[in-house]
Amino acid sequence: MSAATEANVTATVVRLKLSLLRNGLRQSGGRKAAYVASAVVTLLFAVGQVLGLVLLRGTAHADALVVLLVAVLGLGWAVMPLFFPGGDETLDPTRLVMLPLRPRPLVRALLAASLVGIGPLFTVCLFAGSVITVARGAAAYVVGAVAVVLALLVCVALARAVAAANIRLLTSRRGRDLAVLSGLVVAVGAQVVNFGAQRLGSAGLGQLDPVADVLRWVPPASALGAVHSVSEGAYGTAAGQLALCGVVLAALIAVWARHLTRLMTSPDGSTLHGAESAGRERSSTRLGRLLPGGRTGTVMERSLRYVWRDPKTKAAWVTSLAIGLIVPVFNALQGTGSVYFACFAAGMLGLQMYNQFGQDTSAFWMVAMTISSTRDAYVELRARALALLVITLPYATLVTVLTTALLGDWARLPEALGLSFALLGAMLATGAWTSARFPYSIPQEGYKNVAPGQVGLAWISIFGGMAAGALLCAPVIVAAIWLHTGPDATAGRGWPLLPAGAAHGAALAYAGLRLAAPRTAARLPEILTAVSKA
C-alpha cells in the first residue's frame, strides 16, 4: 500500500471520528442537551483542574501529587473500555473488519482517531497543567511538551490495547453485563477516594511520597516524572523515565497491532456466546423447596434469582446493601454517628420495592397474562415483598445491631430496630403502590436506570414515595422523640417501640399491598406499555 493511501486511511478514520462526535448533536432535544452539558461540564472541570494545578506550583509535595494524578488518569484510560465499550464506536475494530485494510495503517489511523475527542482534550489539559506545576526552567518546559504528547499516546494506546485484547469479552453478553456494573465501581471508587482524601487531610500530603516514588517510574506518570527530574537537574534520570515511557508505548502498540491482526482474521465473539454456561445444571429445587408453594413461592424464587443473575437488579441491590451498611457503620466508626442512622439500611433496601414491574422489563407481559383478578395481583405483589424481606429483614437487623455495638448504645437498640421495621414496612407499602401507579422502563444496557422521557415519572415515584414513607412512619418517630424528651425521659424505656414499630410496619405493608393490588389488576396494559419503552 502506498504512503498516499495510508495517509488517506488515517484522514478517513479521523473524519469518521469527527462525524461521530458531530452526530452526538443530532439527537432528540433531551439527549442533545445532555451531550452538550456533559461536554461543557468536562471542559469546565478540566479548566478548574488546570487552574488548581497552576496554583499548586511551588508548594511542597506538588510533584508527588502530579505523578499520582497522571497515574490515576492512566488507570482510568485502561479500565474505561471495559466499562464503556459503546463509548467510542471507532474503538471496535470488528466494525472495520470487512474493509481491505492492512494492520499497520489501520493501527496508525485508529491511534490518530483516538486522539480526537473530549476525553483526550481533557487529558491534555490535565497533563499540561501538571507540567506547569512541576516544571522549572526552559529545558523542563521543552521536556514537558514531549512528556505531554508521550503520556497521552501511552494512555490512548493503553485503552486501545485493553479494548482489543478484551473485545471478545466486550462483545459478548458477559461483557455487557460487566458494563452494567460499572456504576458500582464508580460509586465504590468515589467512597475510596473520599476516605483517602479525608486521611490525607488529617495526615498531610507527605503520605503520598512513598507511592509517588514508585509511580515516578511507571508510565505514563514517568513522563511527568521526567519533567520533575529535569527541573531538579537530574538529566540522566529524566532520560531514563522518558525512554521507559517510549518503550512502553512501543510495546503497547505492538500488543494492540497483534490483537488487531488476530481479530481481523478470526470469527468475532458475538457468535461464541455462552458456551461456558451450557450444560451446567442449575440447582432449581434447593431454593424452591424452602419457599411456600403456589404463586407466592414461584414469584419469590424468580425475584431472588434475579437479584443474583440480572446485572441491573444486582447492581441496584449491591449499591443498596453497600450504602445501607457504609453510612451508619462508618459514621459510627468516626464517632459522629447515632443508632438511628441504622434506619438508613432499611430505607435503602426498601427502595428495591419501587418500580417492581419496571425491573421485569417488557417480560412483564408474562406476569400480566396470569393476573386476572385483584387477588392474583395481591399475591404477586405480596410475593415480591416477601422475597425482598428474605434479604432485607436480617440485613437491616444486622446493620442496626452492628451500629449499636460500635456505639455501645445498647439501651437504644430496641427502638432503633422498631424504627427500622416501621420504615421498611412503609417503604414496601409506598413501593408497591408506586409500582402500580408510576411504573417506568429500566434500560437493560448501559448504566442508566430510567428510559429517556420517563425521568420525571421516576422522580415522582421515588421521592414522592420516600416522603410518603417517612410520613407514614411519623407515629413511631413521634413516639421515639416523646420517649426521650417527655416529662420522665430515660434511655431504657424504648423497648415497647420494637413490637410497636414492627406491628406498624407490618400493618403499613399490608395496607399498601391491598391498595396497590386493584390498581395493578386494572392497569396491566398501561403498566406493560410504560415498562416496555427501553
Binding site: G274, R302, S372
Partner: protein
C-alpha cells in the same frame, strides 16, 4: 364451544396522530389454523395485542371463546396462550426454569408442569439447552421456548405473533409440527406473518390486513380467488402491483463495471 374462537367488533387504536387499527370487525372460526397476513406496519401486532389483553383498545370489543377479554379476564386468560413479538421473556432464567415459572404462575400443579416441560423441551429440540439462560439463546430457540411457555397450560386458543420470523428452517419445521398436532386436536391457532408461502401451506383460513383495516377474510380459496397464488392475491389486495424497477438500476449486474 361457540363456532367462533375470536369475535372482534369495531376495534380502534390510535397512537397520537397515527391510526394503527381503524375499526376491525372479524370472526375467527374455532378449530382452524388462522393466518393474519399483511405488510409491515399493517397493524397485525397491535391487533393481536388488543385481542390478547396486552393493549387496551380505544374502542371496540373482543370476545375469545365467548368471553369478553376486558370484562371477563379470568375466563379468557386461562383459555389462551400467547407468543408476542418484540417483548422480552424472563431471560435470566434457564429454559427449564422459565417453563417451571410460567406453568406454576398459570396455576398448573408443579409435578404436572415439570412433566409437560420435559416433553415440550424434548419435542422442540431444546433438551440440550434447557439449563442455559434464555439470554444466551438464538432467535429460533427463543421462539421455541416462547411457544413452549404458551402451550404449557394447554390453551384453547393460541395467538402467535410472527412465530417464524428469524427462525431457521429446521426450527421452523419443528414449530410447524407441534402446531399441526395441536390444531388437529380441535384447538385454534391464530398467527400473524408476512411470509405468504408459509401462510398458504399452513392455514385453512386467512385475514388480510393493510393500513389498519381488514382487506379480505375467509378460507384460503376464497381469499385467493382467481389469483394463482396467495402472494399474487395479497399484492393485489394491498395495492402493491405493477411497480417495475427495471430501468433505474441498469448498471447493476454483469458487463461494464
Amino acid at each position: 364451544m361457540t363456532s367462533a374462537a375470536v369475535r372482534v367488533h369495531g376495534l380502534w387504536k390510535r397512537f397520537g396522530q397515527q391510526v394503527a387499527v381503524a375499526g376491525i370487525d372479524l370472526e375467527l372460526p374455532a378449530g382452524k389454523f388462522v393466518g393474519l397476513v399483511g405488510p409491515n406496519g399493517a397493524g397485525k401486532t397491535t391487533t393481536l395485542s388488543m385481542v390478547t389483553g396486552l393493549l387496551r383498545p380505544d374502542q371496540g370489543t373482543v370476545e375469545v371463546v365467548g368471553h369478553d377479554v376486558w370484562r371477563d379476564p379470568v375466563e379468557v386468560k386461562a383459555r389462551i396462550g400467547v407468543l408476542p413479538e418484540g417483548l422480552r421473556l424472563f431471560e435470566r432464567l434457564s429454559g427449564r426454569e422459565l417453563l417451571a415459572y410460567t406453568g406454576r404462575l398459570r396455576g398448573v400443579p408443579g409435578a404436572e408442569v415439570d412433566k409437560r416441560a420435559t416433553q415440550l423441551l424434548d419435542v422442540l429440540d431444546l433438551a440440550g439447552a434447557q439449563h442455559k439462560l434464555v439470554v444466551d439463546y438464538s432467535t429460533g430457540m427463543r421462539k421455541k421456548i416462547g411457544l413452549a411457555a404458551a402451550l404449557l397450560h394447554n390453551p384453547e386458543v393460541l395467538f402467535l405473533d410472527e412465530p417464524f420470523e428469524g427462525v431457521d428452517p429446521v426450527s421452523a419445521q419443528t414449530i410447524r409440527g407441534v402446531l399441526e398436532r395441536y390444531t388437529a386436536s380441535g384447538a385454534t391457532v391464530v398467527f400473524s406473518s408476512h411470509v405468504m408461502e408459509l401462510v398458504e401451506s399452513l392455514c385453512d383460513w386467512v385475514a388480510v390486513m393493510a393500513a389498519g383495516r381488514i382487506r379480505a377474510h375467509g378460507t384460503l380459496a376464497e381469499v385467493r380467488g382467481t389469483a394463482p397464488t396467495l402472494q399474487q392475491a395479497f399484492l393485489e389486495l394491498v395495492g402493491a402491483q405493477g411497480r417495475d424497477a427495471g430501468t433505474d438500476l441498469d448498471w447493476l449486474g454483469g458487463g461494464a463495471r
